[in-house]
Amino acid sequence: MKTIDLESSRDTAFMDAVACESGQELKSCYQCGNCTAGCVYTHDYDLPVHQVIRLVQLGQKEQALSCRSIWLCATCQACTTRCPNNIEVARVMDVLRHMARRQGKTPERLVKTFADSFLKSVARHGRVFEAGLAMTFAIKSGKPMQDAGLGPAMLTRGKLAFAPHEPSNQAKTEVAGIFDRFAAGKPACHAEPTAATTEAKQ
């Protein structure tokens, strides 16, 4: 394993960005490992949660953003619930994933594909059109047969609506608008820690 030059590889801008976008104070993490201990996804992670946090503490942007773990976190909140230092760990994992996306890093392609297809469906119909989502994903994923077996079971039980049950056009345009403005890009984070977040800390 290659040596980390703590000083030269320390990306403080990155550290600040994570702190700012997540509203979490990572300096207060003392690496007890509770998050890792309780995380049911550790089994599939390439880096345990506490080490992901550690990388951020040391400003190791490249490594932190290219790990698979940040894509495999399901936000089940076990870590956040049990952190002895009141750090919303899951929120930090979210933020790292956001950054990785912006950098075009996607070690877990299908996870990204699923999220994208889901949101596309929402953007088009205002609500998720499950059948449509399943189809699109099946095709994009290159594993069209994975869930094919489930089709009949759902159909016979009327669990698979063929047509999306959509809200009014008005509502659909509003939702579409949200996505358009989001695509138009957002300002960099300059969020001072505010009421809710500081409160949560106490």
């Binding site: 490992g33 201990a37 309780g38 952190c83 002895p84």
Partner: protein, 664 residues
């Protein structure tokens, strides 16, 4: 008036962010100031001699020192000026370290602020008056609250020093937490063998009056003369008659009473003597479980008691004691393990606290020293210890380190391997805190000699599972050194619970008029230099009530507190602080407002010949708060050294200087 001023560098503590020469220069221009200089260390011997020198040479009648907080060195400097023949109250201090140099790096502003503070001090000094303390008799007795190892040690030391001691213990026997321990680290001494004799001494010493099953109800008065009201709870047994034979305990039909002394891992009887070495060895009836007291039937103990000591009608009793000093030694309680739901304490029988485990290890405990897990009484082969439960945890508002859990956990792991040679002991820890004599060595013994497995990482969760032979607890942890998730199927899980201030500690603090921190631990009057004193003169601290401590530290602090008390009460008379209220009779209109507001009853109304009333301050009782000064409609009563004009002198000093700065 001739005033001298000394500005202290305090090495570079002050000088690095305050231009002390400039402050001294400015001071020379202040009214009545005939001398001003700066000095490297005003509190040092040369510093103090310099002060005395100047006072004599320049015939000063007042001195101002600008240095650290008066809470730190006011006493020091007052002694210095007194040595040079000045009255110690003709001295003022400006706090330019804690309140200036240490809170800002802005040299320009700091210097201006320091100058202001010196000006305020000078202006006050100009209206200060010499005061002379009076002396008063003291009670050569000491009250000690709490009969744990600290309280016992303090009691014995005070008694040895010739003081009468009143020892108050909330529970029915003294000994505290130490009496529940099996062995002690790092020597693996038998705990009760070490403590037992001390308990006996405390019980037998003619100088020590022991009030067990009692609590301090109220405490009034002041150093040298405290009046204490003590509530002696009714044991429903006349302890003067009871011989502690235990016959009642054998016959008592109510046998389903949780045994508090055994941390509720076992049951006892409604009437009981908590443990064999109990001091006082007297029976007590638990009113919540006694059939006679709850249902009106039974009465077996009364029938069989050979001494006829049982008294179901017995009521609480209030006794009053006069003492000259108080030592608080209320110790600690354990963190409630139920608050950590993820470990299932209270839900799963085989998840227990370290103190419950300690009782199991103890030969006099419920299992007679054999480790048997609660669920099925089987001997556990795999025991998991989880450290820092309720310690170093902000989410539980317990951010502090409890200090000794690392050590007792190592001890319990060693004892486990001792009791059950074919067992395995795992310790899940975050850091090992072993900063005591022989402590680190002890930890290493646990690891090397006894093969205790240490796993670095907090445990997330404990859940019940079916093991090969019977139910087990699945411990889900992490090994942060490997960066891996780890799991352990344990037969027994021991939670190394942290400590909290004893419940009710803050209430006692309010009765004693001492301060306590956010967690209920009592506040010492200076963390470094006055660790056993409190802000209330005559009240001292011993043991863990001041902050988590292990046995040696508690005993050491207890002896320290005893030493302080002995020194204090070695004098036959004490000097009263002259900073008390004084009535100007010609101004007093006898309205009696002051008498009504004084929290200490230090003011009484005296009737003159013409029948009119005048307020009068009882000097030994007045505590010098000054509430009366503000209450008096005609300002006839003034707190000496903090009079209206003295305080306003400081206010004016500030406002006036500012007028100048704005005009200039």
């Amino acid at each position: 008036m001739r005033i001298g001023v000394m500005i202290c560098h305090c090495g570079n503590n002050i000088a690095s962010t305050v231009d002390v020469e400039a402050v001294a220069a400015a001071a020379r221009e202040f009214p009545d100031v005939v001398f001003a200089t700066d000095h490297m260390y005003a509190c040092s011997d040369p510093g103090q001699r310099k002060i005395e020198e100047v006072i004599r040479e320049l015939k000063l009648d007042g001195v101002v020192v600008a240095s650290c907080s008066p809470r730190m060195h006011e006493v020091t400097f007052r002694r210095a000026v007194e040595r040079a023949g000045l009255n110690r109250y003709m001295f003022e201090m400006a706090n330019i370290r804690e309140h200036v140099a240490w809170i800002s790096l802005d040299r320009k502003r700091n210097t201006a602020k320091a100058t202001d503070l010196v000006r305020m001090a000078v202006e006050k000094l100009r209206v200060d008056r010499p005061l002379t303390p009076k002396s008063f008799e003291v009670q050569k007795r000491v009250l000690i609250v709490g009969g744990g190892v600290a309280g016992i040690q303090a009691a014995l030391d005070c008694a040895d020093g010739g003081l009468d001691v009143v020892l108050v213990e909330r529970r029915q026997a003294i000994g505290g937490i130490m009496s529940k321990l099996d062995k002690t680290f790092p020597t693996i001494d038998c705990s009760v063998c070490v403590l037992g004799p001390k308990m006996v001494d405390a019980g037998q010493n003619p100088r020590i009056t022991l009030h067990a099953l009692s609590e301090v109800e109220e405490i009034t008065g002041y150093v040298g003369n405290f009046d204490v009201k003590i509530r002696k709870k009714s044991p429903f047994v006349d302890w003067n008659k009871c011989t502690g034979c235990g016959a009642c305990q054998e016959k008592c039909p109510s046998k389903k009473v949780p045994d508090a002394f055994n941390e509720n891992v076992s049951l006892t009887t409604a009437i009981n003597i908590p443990f064999p070495q109990a001091i006082p060895k007297r029976a007590t009836i638990n009113a919540d479980y006694c059939l006679r007291l709850t249902k009106g039937k039974c009465g077996v103990c009364e029938k069989i008691c050979p001494a006829g000591a049982i008294d179901y009608e017995m009521k609480d009793e209030i006794v009053t004691e006069k003492v000259g000093a108080v030592i608080a030694a209320t110790g600690i309680d354990l963190f409630d393990y139920k608050k950590c739901g993820e470990y299932g304490g209270g839900r799963y029988p085989d998840v227990i606290t370290s103190l419950q485990y300690e009782r199991m290890l103890s030969a006099s405990g419920p299992t007679a020293g054999h480790i048997k897990r609660p669920s099925d009484g089987k001997e556990p082969k795999t025991v998991a210890f989880i450290a820092c439960v309720g310690s170093r945890d902000r989410s539980l508002n317990r951010p502090y380190c409890s200090g000794f859990c690392c050590m007792y956990t190592a001890k319990q792991a060693i004892l486990t391997r001792d009791h059950i040679p074919d067992s395995r002991a795992y310790v899940f820890y975050m850091d090992i805190r072993a900063n005591g004599k022989g402590y680190e060595e002890f930890i290493r013994r646990a690891q090397e000699e006894y093969g205790v497995e240490y796993v670095r990482g907090r445990v997330a969760q404990v859940i019940p599972v079916d093991g090969p032979n019977g139910p087990q607890m699945l411990v889900r942890g992490a090994d942060t050194l490997l960066g891996r998730q780890v799991e352990l199927k344990a037969d027994l899980v021991v939670l190394a619970v942290g400590v909290e201030a004893a419940h009710g500690a803050s209430a006692l603090a309010e009765k004693l008029r001492i301060s306590y921190d956010a967690y209920g631990f009592f506040l010492e009057s200076h963390p470094k230099l006055r660790p056993v004193e409190t802000n209330t003169v005559g009240v001292f601290l011993a043991g863990a009530c001041q902050g988590a401590k292990d046995i040696p530290s508690s005993v050491a602090q207890a002896s320290a507190a005893a030493g302080k008390v002995l020194a204090l009460l070695s004098k036959d008379k004490l000097e009263s602080d002259p900073q008390i209220a004084l009535v100007q009779a010609i101004r007093c209109i006898g309205c009696g407002k002051c008498e009504r507001t004084c929290p200490f009853g230090a003011i009484r109304m005296r009737e003159l010949r013409d029948g009119s009333l005048r307020a009068e301050v009882v000097e030994t009782v007045c505590q010098g708060c000054g509430i009366c000064s503000v209450t008096c409609p005609v300002r006839a009563i003034q707190l000496q050294h903090f009079t209206d004009s003295q305080l306003l002198a400081e206010v004016n000093a500030l406002c006036r200087t500012w007028d100048e700065t704005t005009e200039s």
